[in-house]
């Protein structure tokens, strides 16, 4: 069994490290010191941890003010409340005003499991990706999380990052180099392409293993940047493999699958399957149970891919 990681640890470590050398780095939280793992950041840089209390609109607006005054704030808060409660601040104060704010949506997707749909963040990619001037990143493992935090800090402009708490294995080799807007091809294949992000990347890789037994060679792309989308990688997948399955811990409307479909429709039409939460509020269940329930497993991805390959013939 591969070792599993909580990407928030890599996030917190990277943030502290860049804050050591760059005095502009701040953390802004909504009482989410523990859940964002920034307690140690606060100990080391007390004047650069701004806790506004349970007040998401001010959290994001304040971050825009910091950014417009030369700071590089990382807003660290549970993704459902950061994106849902403060969406207008994200649109107007951050994206439209081009404030150099980094929004770290913690524990996204179904991570809060039994706490229910109020705490699930399965709309955040659709919301953030539809706003002009936003960059949207979903790292898949601790290595990529570390690199994505550094890339976000160096990138001038608004960035939304999803920082998962669901345990994930390392999917990248040490020589992986995350680049904003570039998909990583983790496995090549000619029969079909699995495009995944975040927690779903390791499951897509496992699905590709299962597909070998069916004589299917699947390409696996880690689409860590949802916007700007790597349309070249999508086009190549469409042309070279003839079918695409997307998989995301998000509603099937407007997220990764939507983004890929938009590119496929315009550039090179091929059959697709979009795996995710099928446009409903999730029933009660643990995060792991919910992923199973919605078929967001290696087996579920394999089944969808196989069905698509067979439909192609």
């Amino acid at each position: 069994m591969a070792q599993l990681y909580d990407c928030r640890d890599a996030f917190a470590a990277a943030l502290e490290e860049i804050a050591t050398n760059d005095l502009r780095i701040c953390a802004v939280v909504n009482d989410s010191v523990g859940s964002s793992k920034v307690a140690n950041f606060g100990k080391r840089f007390p004047d650069r941890l701004i806790n506004v209390g349970i007040a998401e609109q001010t959290m994001v607006g304040l971050a825009a003010g910091l950014a417009n005054s030369g700071k590089i704030p990382f807003v660290c808060a549970a993704s459902p409340f950061l994106t849902g409660r403060a969406l207008e601040q994200i649109k107007a104060d951050v994206a439209y005003a081009d404030a150099n704010v980094k929004l770290a949506g913690m524990s996204p997707g179904l991570a809060y499991g039994e706490l229910g749909p109020t705490h699930h963040s399965i709309e955040d990619l659709a919301w953030t990706r539809s706003i002009a001037n936003m960059t949207v990143i979903v790292p898949a493992d601790p290595l990529e999380t570390d690199q994505a935090i550094r890339a976000a800090a160096e990138h001038h402009g608004p960035v939304f990052l999803r920082i998962g708490r669901m345990p994930v294995p390392m999917v990248h080799d040490d020589d992986h180099r995350f680049e904003i807007g570039k998909a990583a091809c983790l496995r090549d294949g000619r029969d079909i392409t699995l495009i995944a992000a975040g927690t779903m990347v390791s499951r897509a890789l496992q699905a590709a293993d299962l597909l070998v037994a069916e004589g299917v060679q699947a390409r696996v792309l880690n689409m860590a940047t949802i916007r700007p989308l790597d349309t070249d990688a999508v086009l190549a997948a469409a042309v070279e493999t003839g079918g695409i399955v997307t998989v995301e811990e998000h509603t099937i409307y407007g997220g990764l699958g939507g983004a890929v479909a938009e590119a496929v429709v315009v550039k090179h039409l091929v059959p697709m399957r979009i795996l995710g939460v099928p446009g409903i509020f999730a029933p009660t269940g643990s995060a792991e149970w919910l992923l199973e329930h919605f078929g967001l497993t290696a087996q579920g991805i394999r089944d969808a891919a196989l069905e698509l390959v067979q439909a192609k013939v």
Binding site: V52, T58, G65, N68, E88, A92, A97, A99
Partner: protein, 285 residues
């Protein structure tokens, strides 16, 4: 009380009348704008830009500048006209207000207009951003100050009160909110729509140091700005009692003039009234 320079006050008053006149012309030409709210806050803007703010139109991005944020972004016409008279943008450019591809959108855009610090329009956004500016200055130990002008109806937005808590918690005595207390909002009087009074007590309860002033009295405005910070360790709140549509008799205190555009007859009468107040003589100081 500082000794008020009556000549200076008279110059500001004349300038404000000229700005009202130019703003009215702009709104009339564009057939779009919020003239009532503009006329309510122009005296505050003139006092700030011509007597209080440490800003330099030649260096609009100077890191040490005072920040001014117009939270009531629909009053962009007043801001643009004031910025033009202060030299941030060419006076001629006011002719482009709301025209296709103009920098002068119906609400201000900091990426396009020098002197604009954040993009406003939706209400309740300015104060949180201003708190962020003031926190940044505190982190840096910098001397520059942050001012934010809000409407009064706008205070019905809960985000303001979140930010009010933060400003007091972080002891932002380098932050000043000015409330354009004209008592009107788009549809009706504020107190008939959603009670705000007792307003000063609310801000005091939130930990702010509060002063009330006649928002059209330059001597009083300059005097109150001169006293900043009111108390060490507390954010400053100035409740400026104003009249929507100030300067034109038939607009004053009338809810209808929130975003009504005058017809030709009304325009002529308004110009006549402003000219009688010396509006045609105003020029940049």
């Amino acid at each position: 009380m500082r000794l008020v320079d009556t000549q200076h006050v008279e110059r500001l008053r004349t300038l404000a009348t000229a700005i009202r006149r130019r703003d009215l012309q702009m709104v009339y030409d564009a057939k779009l704008g919020h003239i009532g709210g503009d006329f309510s806050d122009i005296d505050i803007l003139v006092a700030l830009y011509f007597s209080v703010l440490r800003v330099d139109p030649n260096k609009p991005n100077n890191p040490d500048r005072d920040r001014f944020i117009l939270s009531k972004g629909h009053s962009a016409g007043a801001l643009y006209t004031t910025l033009a008279y202060r030299g941030f943008i060419p006076l001629d450019e006011l002719n482009t207000f709301a025209q296709p591809l103009s920098r002068l959108n119906g609400h201000p855009d900091r990426k396009k207009v020098p002197g604009v610090e954040t993009n406003t329009g939706p209400l309740g956004h300015g104060l949180p951003v201003a708190v962020g500016c003031a926190v940044a200055a505190k982190i840096d130990g910098a001397a520059w100050r942050t001012f934010v002008l809000t409407g009064d109806g706008e205070l019905q937005e809960g985000s303001n009160w979140e930010a009010a808590l933060s400003a007091a918690h972080y002891k932002l005595d380098n932050l000043t909110v000015i409330i354009d207390r004209n008592g009107l909002q788009q549809g009706d009087f504020t107190e008939r729509t959603m009670h705000l009074d007792p307003l000063a007590e609310k801000w005091r309860a939130f930990g702010w140091s509060v002063r009330e002033v006649n928002g059209h009295d330059y001597a009083a405005l300059l005097d109150v700005f001169d006293q900043l910070p009111f108390e060490w360790g507390r954010p400053n709140c100035i409740i400026a009692h104003t009249h929507k549509g100030q300067g034109v008799s038939f607009m004053r205190d009338r809810p209808a003039w929130h975003h009504r555009v005058p017809n030709a007859e009304e325009y002529a009468q308004a110009l006549q009234e402003l000219d009688a107040q010396g509006g045609e003589h105003g020029s940049a100081l």
